[in-house]
Amino acid sequence: MSTQIWRGADLMMRSACCRTIRSPSSEQPGAERTSPSSALTHRNLSAVAVQGQSRPLCRYDSLDLGEVEENVRRALACKKIRHFIVNPDLAELVTQHLRPENGRSVIFECNPGPGVLTRTLLNAGAQRVVALEGDKLFLRDLQELEGRLDGQLEVVHCDYFKLDPIGVGNLRPPVMYTDKLFTDLGISEASWTDDIPVKVVGILPLRNERGTLLKMVYALFERQSVYRYGRVELNLFISEKEYLKLVSRPGEMMQYRAFSVLWQMACDIELLHKEPWESFVKSSKQRMPSSKNQLPNEHLCLVRLRPRADLFSGGLTPTNASTLLMMVKQCLAKRKVKLIDRLNLWSPDSGSKLLSEMGMLEDILTGHVYPEEYLRLFQLIDKSQEFTQSWLYEEILENPQREGWG
């Protein structure tokens, strides 16, 4: 019993030293919300401000969002299971979180559909929006809009979540490779510590949320795919259930998984907004995902995943990152095993030394270790001589590529 309390206290203490995730607190979101009219003036102001420096803005004061009914009808015509933002207020809210009017980031909008959010973004003064639409159905209207503007909007037939497929075969849109997309858009590779070059906004496809998230975080650590071009910031609607797993903390043995650790390690995670499922238009008649387990799943959560600038400063490099990925995955395959056992497997007798260096208890469980601690642990291991003898260390080189996607 006493050890339990001990452990609890220890956990709390350590969590205090660790960076915490910013959770939806009182500041959020109503306080930041501004009225649509002010947004409009905002746009106009910024239009004045930037005039002359960059390209000219469109002649129109404000783009017409279209009738809601009409947009709903168009969204429903889509044959795939997708969610759409059609409600102008919702679009407005998302826009405010993105703050398109300041900063020089390009905004990638994934699967805009009828384009309500696209127009709202442009109205709010976004200077460069790239609409990546995977469904031909919406392409024509978007391209028509693109033609009416002065370059603030670019439309590409591309599905963001299907970038860089691992299979072979000849590609046809909407599947494509990142380098083609970025080269076409004229975005060049940037250093990791530079400003955020691209903000991505969209709704994570429901079909394989976890797989997509895992694939993206692997790419992030190895700085492949879009992350070759710098710290791409994601602003995604994720189902509440997955979000809760994503931000789960050590000790929540059911939810604390490898992908939560990796994302928390790599990014500042911020919950921007929670919106009930009903606010979105859904294109297929399939049932809403019901929450069968204990986690609530009533909302879609707008989550900002901003990669940390200092991620690669402490010895982690894109080359050895695969080992880190493997380490985390191996450790968290089972959360109720002792960390020391796992470490000893890799290099006999080294576990207790490492743990004491880390200042952790001997009997700490893998599910009780914070993401930051895993990172530090890895850095220690990476420096240690003993681990170079470990065959498992070699073994793990191969795995993420072969089987790790998804």
Binding site: N170, R210, Q330, L397, E398, E403
Partner: protein, 1271 residues
């Protein structure tokens, strides 16, 4: 004694209170379930008190025992038939296998209904339990006292079952207690019978099936309990078994899982000990549980009486009388019970005490033969069954060898690598390994003993199933040997935990089974019967026109004394063997260690584990893996140990296999074998198979295939081994050793000299090299096993016992080396018996050779023969100088078989008289039952039939070329209209590109799969531009499908229709049920999708057509096999490729053709449709929610696909035409690899396959059954 009285008093008090409460409430019209529940509540309180009073004396007094006291213990009013008996009742002769499967399926499709009925049944079954307190230790003594109490309290109730007075248990009780006073009153069952009778509806026939479905659902648990009990008993741990049974019995929820057989297990133990009173107690328990004693129960009682020298005859008389009352006779006893050791003699002894001149009458089962084979069984005058070329004595000696082999369970043989010289390093490594093994053995033994000790003592809850008894069935040493053996055979890349666990568990099970047979003294009897059985096969005995299964059955009836041969052992449930295996793996992972510096002294010395448990990740799933340490791998590879240890069933048999005489008995002598290969855990299949009545023809054809004797082609084996031990050859399909593998590049990831791109590149190289290495290793090991077994058998003559899958496709049981294997293994096999070539034999050999080369596909037989004669020079050269000549044979499609054929031809040609040349060489003939032919025949489709050689035609028609032509036409058209991909494809469309897809279309290949196949073919074409492969394959697959549509009008329609059908039939889909197995090492998720309540709709849909066609295929094969047997031919099959001696090719072809016609003269589609209509479209009433769907289904089913005009113009006519010959083609050689390929691509997966389980026997049986039903 005084204590007992207290106890009895307490009970009686409680009972009175109970009665006071209930008697008021329970009016005759009261509802039974209701009264159960009210009483239940009341009693719980009362029994609480009671128990508190008597706790010290009565171990447990379960509340429901007391409740049931006042309920009618009337099993007899409305007989609840035990599961065993109603099987026979319901499934009368025309209800065949299929029907029961589909019935089960229907039930499952209506889960609500089933649930309700099931619920009702439970109530019903539970209610009529008799009331007598169970108390494990002192119960029986208490019981009589209770009985005397009953009349006092139960006066309000009528006693109306006087006939039940003479129940056996009471008698035994009384006998034991010698207290006849309580008898007449005591055994009165107190009954609110009237009430119960009205409440419980008369049980309609159909409900029995519901019980069955429910039974199937809890079948797994039952199986677990049963195997647990048996393992306990086998290990001699009677105490544990007994207390376990009692603990199950005590709690109502667990008790309902028990059936009479479970109690019988314990009775059997007591019978061995001769303790009649214990048996009496169990009879009481039985009654209390509302179960009826069955044959087995009476059997043990009689056995016990037989063992007791002082047993009174009147006791036996009573027992027999009671059996009669229950509708059982002494003859049933001897014909149906399974006896072990001397049980039978004891029972007989007991019976003789009262009926001195009694002789059991045993009847042969009168088997109903389906009309398709009726003639075969009834008119045997001109049959001449083949004899084996051995004397009786030889066969008996072979039997002894095989028996020894199987008793050992494992066999260690020299590997073919043993021929290599031993270097110093090798010797050192071998020594090192041997030392380590000895040490590991000690450690494991120690660990096993410790963990057993812990398991035995910590298990506080005795109703829990744990592994302890399973760890006691063998000697500790044997477990350790199994573990050490598994370390030796672990592949370097590791093995998934689940598979490793399963294998270990299976090994323990096999050994346990063999030892069980020894303990039951089966071996001696088996020897006697087998020795007599050799009469039938040996050449020095007289001819008799009896089939092996019939003969064996007759012998078994004649020599009926001693233990029964069949049906003794219970399968361990899948989950148990996996759990046991994982337990052992865990022990190995934790305990097996070695020093890290054994190979490289430079390393720091640490004790490191040799096995590691880690995870690999596939999609979102993580798979537990056991990986060996690289040092261990290094040691093993360097040592190159020259001994291989196999399980005994891996080897071919040294004597003719035991004929299959029932579902449970056949093939190996002692090793358990399955008649039907099923996916692990699919118990429902087994249940259904056992129900299936008309399996006789199937069994006989399996016996026929198994009876073929084989030998090794030694010259060829020597050549192959020499290449294998040299450097292998990819071209000739001999896998090279690992020394030929690409070196794994080493690089330091931290080295700053490399750029990141270079590092990524190198990483990829490493991965590829590793992958290549592990592939090569597994190929090499596979070849090593095969060749080593062949080498071990080089001077032997051997047999392959056969079994089949759910569609009736037959397979040899030994897994590595058999005639279904690759070109190499096939080439190694010869018939043991030689026959002269005869007048046309040489020609057939030559044609066979041409077929093996893969050339001249479109030539007629004469053309092929001509071609063969024109290349004789090459043939002779190949035979004489296989490795140094001009190597003509190496370019054949099947080089090794071609080489073998060359040698045979050379020998024949050079012999003085080729017609008398004795040849052992098997000649292959394509059974021509490829799927399209069946479809064409089913649909009576003329153009289609012509192109698959079903219609008479000068030249062999080649459907593949036909389709290729058709596709080419489409392509030209598209190319002209400017389609780019069609232009790119110019000149690339060939027969080869489309062949696989065309072939698999009938097996339900989808566009997706078809595209992959074509993609593969296109990639093989070197000058085809790689960047177009994807587009081109996409385009081509579309063209192939439309090409087929043009050619086969009716065919595809049949397929589409059957697809629809399945979709409708199984239009609901639930996830498979999975079992979570929590082991210390890892949570294992056993997906038992094949026993799921609902089948997987998509899989069903895709699987139906291929399975249907495969079962037609296999039926045709079986028919051919049977008739070949009756004609005295040697016949074996590789699915649709039939093998026989060159002499008998013509006869076989004739039979093959006749049987194809016979099969398709049956109105197969009509029957299928009628059958499905019957099953699915009756009884669906309007109230059913799915009514609309049923209606649609009905309309669909009623419409049998239109059969084309040929049906009318040539009824009952060979579709090949009277003059047509079956054209041999080398298609057959693709047999198994092609099946494997299909399987790996998932096309013919049986998809939760119970529903398709009906396919295979129905062919034999539908014919007759439907005649009965619809004539």
């Amino acid at each position: 004694m005084s204590l007992l009285r207290v106890c009895a008093f307490a009970k009686c008090v409680s009972r009175r209170t109970l009665f006071d409460k209930c008697a008021v409430r329970v009016s005759p019209a009261d509802r039974c379930p209701l009264c159960v529940s009210t009483r239940d509540g009341g009693v719980r309180r009362i029994s609480g008190e009671a128990v508190s009073v008597v706790r010290r004396y009565v171990i447990v007094l379960s509340h429901d025992v007391m409740v049931l006291l006042i309920l009618p213990a009337k099993l007899h009013l409305f007989p609840v038939q035990s599961r065993t008996s109603f099987c026979n009742v319901v499934y009368s002769h025309w209800i065949f296998f299929s029907l029961s499967v589909l019935k089960a399926r229907i039930q499952q499709l209506q889960p609500d209904v089933v649930l309700d009925v099931h619920h009702a049944n439970v109530q019903f079954v539970k209610a009529p339990s008799s009331g007598r307190g169970v108390s494990s230790g002192k119960g029986p003594k208490v019981a009589p006292k209770e009985k005397t109490d009953i009349p006092k309290s139960g006066k309000t109730l009528k006693k109306n079952k006087l006939t039940k007075e003479e129940r056996l248990p009471q008698k035994i009780q009384k006998n034991v207690k010698e207290k006849p006073s309580g008898k007449s009153k005591g055994s009165k069952k107190v009954g609110t019978t009237a009430a119960a009778a009205t409440v419980n509806p008369q049980r309609p026939e159909e409900e029995e099936e519901d019980v069955e479905v429910a039974a199937a659902a809890c079948g797994d648990v039952q199986l677990s309990i049963r195997s647990y009990l048996e393992a306990c008993v086998f290990a001699g741990d009677v105490e544990r078994a007994h207390s376990f049974l009692l603990s199950q019995h005590r709690v109502r929820s667990r008790r309902k899982l028990l059936n009479t057989d479970f109690y019988n297990i314990m009775m059997r133990v007591w019978a061995k000990k001769g303790t009649l009173n214990q048996i009496g107690r169990i009879f009481i328990l039985l009654e209390e549980a509302g179960l009826k004693p069955n044959l087995g129960s009476y059997c043990t009682a009689l056995e016990c009486m037989g063992r007791n020298p002082g047993c009174q005859p009147k006791l036996i008389t009573r027992c027999l009388r009671q059996m009669e009352e229950d509708g059982l006779s002494a003859d049933d006893l001897f014909s149906q019970c399974v006896f072990r050791q001397d049980e039978r003699d004891m029972v007989l002894k007991a019976v003789h005490l009262v009926q001195p001149d009694y002789k059991p009458r045993l009847h042969a089962r009168a088997a109903q033969c389906p009309s398709l084979v009726q003639e075969f069984y009834t008119q045997r005058a001109d049959h001449q069954y083949p004899k084996l070329d051995f004397t009786q004595e030889e066969l008996q000696e072979r039997f002894r060898q095989q028996l020894r082999l199987e008793e050992d369970c494992t066999v260690t043989i020299d590997s073919v690598e043993a021929a290599k010289p031993v270097t110093d390093h090798m010797a050192k490594m071998r020594k090192l390994l041997a030392d380590h093994r000895a040490q590991w053995q000690k450690i494991l033994l120690q660990a096993l003993r410790e963990s057993k000790m812990i398991l035995a003592n910590t298990n506080t809850k005795d109703y829990r199933l744990n592994l302890y008894p399973y760890l006691c069935v063998l000697e500790d040493r044997e477990y350790v040997d199994i573990m050490i053996q598994s370390v030796a055979s672990l592949p370097p890349s590791g093995e998934s935990l689940k598979i490793l666990g399963r294998d270990l568990g299976h090994r323990v099970y096999t050994k346990y089974c063999v030892q069980q047979k020894q303990q039951n003294q089966v071996v001696e009897k088996l020897r006697n019967i087998y020795n007599a059985y050799t009469d039938l096969l040996a050449k020095d005995t007289k001819e008799c026109i009896v089939l092996p299964s019939e003969y064996w059955g007759r012998l078994e009836r004649e020599q009926s004394s001693g233990p029964s041969l069949q049906g003794g052992e219970t399968h361990w449930p899948y989950i148990v063997s996996v759990e046991l295996g994982i337990y052992m793996v865990d022990m190995m992972v934790k305990n097996l260690k070695m020093n890290s510096d054994v190979l490289n002294p430079a390393f720091e010395r640490k004790l490191i584990p040799i096995l590691y448990h880690m995870y690999t990740f596939r999609n979102t799933r993580q798979v537990g893996f056991i990986k060996p340490h690289p040092i261990l791998i290094q040691m093993q590879q360097d040592a190159m140990e020259s001994k291989l240890t196999f399980d005994s069933y891996v080897m071919p048999m040294l004597c003719p296999p035991v004929p299959w005489t029932s579902v449970k008995f056949g093939a190996y002598l002692l090793t358990p074998s399955k008649l039907m290969r099923t996916v692990e855990g699919a118990t429902q299949h087994e249940v259904l198979l056992e129900k299936c009545q008309n399996l006789l023809p199937v069994l006989d054809s399996l016996n026929q295939l198994g009876n073929c004797a084989w030998s090794i082609n030694k010259p060829l084996l020597d050549i192959i081994i020499s290449i294998f031990n040299d450097r292998g050859s990819d071209k000739l399909d001999i896998p090279p050793p690992l020394s030929e593998a690409p070196k794994i590049p080493h690089f330091n990831a931290q080295d700053p000299a490399y750029t990141s791109a270079e590092k990524a590149h190198m990483k990829r190289d490493v991965i590829n090299a590793k992958k290549k290495c592990s592939e090569m290793h597994s190929l090499r090991m596979d070849a090593l096993y095969k060749l080593s077994i062949a080498n071990h058998m080089r001077d032997e003559i051997f047999w392959f016992p056969h079994n089949m899958d759910f569609r009736g496709r037959t397979y040899p049981c030994p897994p590595y080396f058999n005639h279904l294997g690759s070109d190499v293994t096939r080439a190694l096999l010869l018939f043991a018996e030689g026959k002269p070539l005869g007048p046309k034999g040489l020609d057939w050999l030559k044609i066979h050779l041409v077929n093996l080369t893969g050339l001249k596909k479109r030539s007629s037989l004469e053309g092929r023969l001509e071609y063969a004669n024109s290349i004789m020079e090459d043939v002779l050269d190949s035979a004489d100088n296989p490795l140094n000549g001009n190597k003509w044979w190496m370019n054949a499609d099947e080089p090794w078989q071609a080489l073998g054929c060359c040698m045979e031809i050379a020998n024949a040609v050079r012999s003085p008289d080729p017609t008398n040349f004795i040849s052992n060489f098997p000649v292959h003939q394509d059974g021509s039952c490829n799927g399209l032919q069946h479809y064409a025949a089913l649909g009576r489709d003329v153009i289609g039939a012509t192109s698959v050689n079903l219609m008479p035609c000068e030249m062999p028609q080649d459907v593949y070329s036909g389709v290729a032509q058709q596709v080419e036409e489409f392509r030209v058209r598209d190319a002209q209209s400017g389609m780019k991909i069609a232009q790119v494809l110019e000149g690339f469309i060939s027969r080869k590109v489309v062949k696989q897809t065309v072939m698999t279309v009938v097996y339900g290949v989808t566009r997706y799969g078809g595209r992959l196949q074509i993609e593969k073919r296109l990639k093989e074409i070197e000058d085809f531009p790689k960047e177009h492969v994807w587009d081109a394959s996409h385009y081509l697959v579309r063209m192939v499908f439309s090409g087929l549509k043009e050619m086969f009008t009716g065919t595809r329609e049949i397929q589409v229709r059957s697809m629809h059908l399945i979709t409708y039939m199984f239009s609901s889909n639930k996830p498979p049920h999975s079992i979570h197995l929590k082991s210390t090492i890892q949570l294992i998720n056993l997906q038992i999708s094949h026993d799921a309540k609902e089948p997987d709709t998509v899989k069903q849909k895709n699987a139906f057509p291929p399975n249907f066609i495969h079962s037609l295929d296999s039926t045709h094969m079986m028919l051919t096999a049977l008739h070949c047997y009756s004609a005295g031919l040697t016949f074996v099959s590789v699915h649709d490729c039939f093998w026989t001696h060159a002499l008998t090719v013509d006869t076989m072809n004739k039979i093959c053709r006749e049987q194809f016609v016979a099969l398709h003269s049956q109105p197969i589609l009509r029957e299928l449709s009628d059958f499905l209509l019957q099953k699915y479209c009756t009884g669906a009433e309007a109230k059913n929610k799915k009514y609309q769907e049923y209606r649609r289904l009905m309309l669909l089913l009623a419409k049998v696909p239109q059969t084309g005009e040929s049906a009318r113009s040539r009824p009952r006519h060979c579709w090949r035409g009277p003059t047509c010959r079956i054209l041999p083609s080398p298609n057959c050689t693709e047999g198994d690899s092609y099946v494997l390929k299909l399987r790996s691509e998932g096309y013919q997966d049986d998809g939760g396959c119970h529903s398709v389980g009906f396919l295979f026997p129905s062919r034999f049986i539908t014919a007759s059954s439907c005649r009965l039903l619809f004539a």
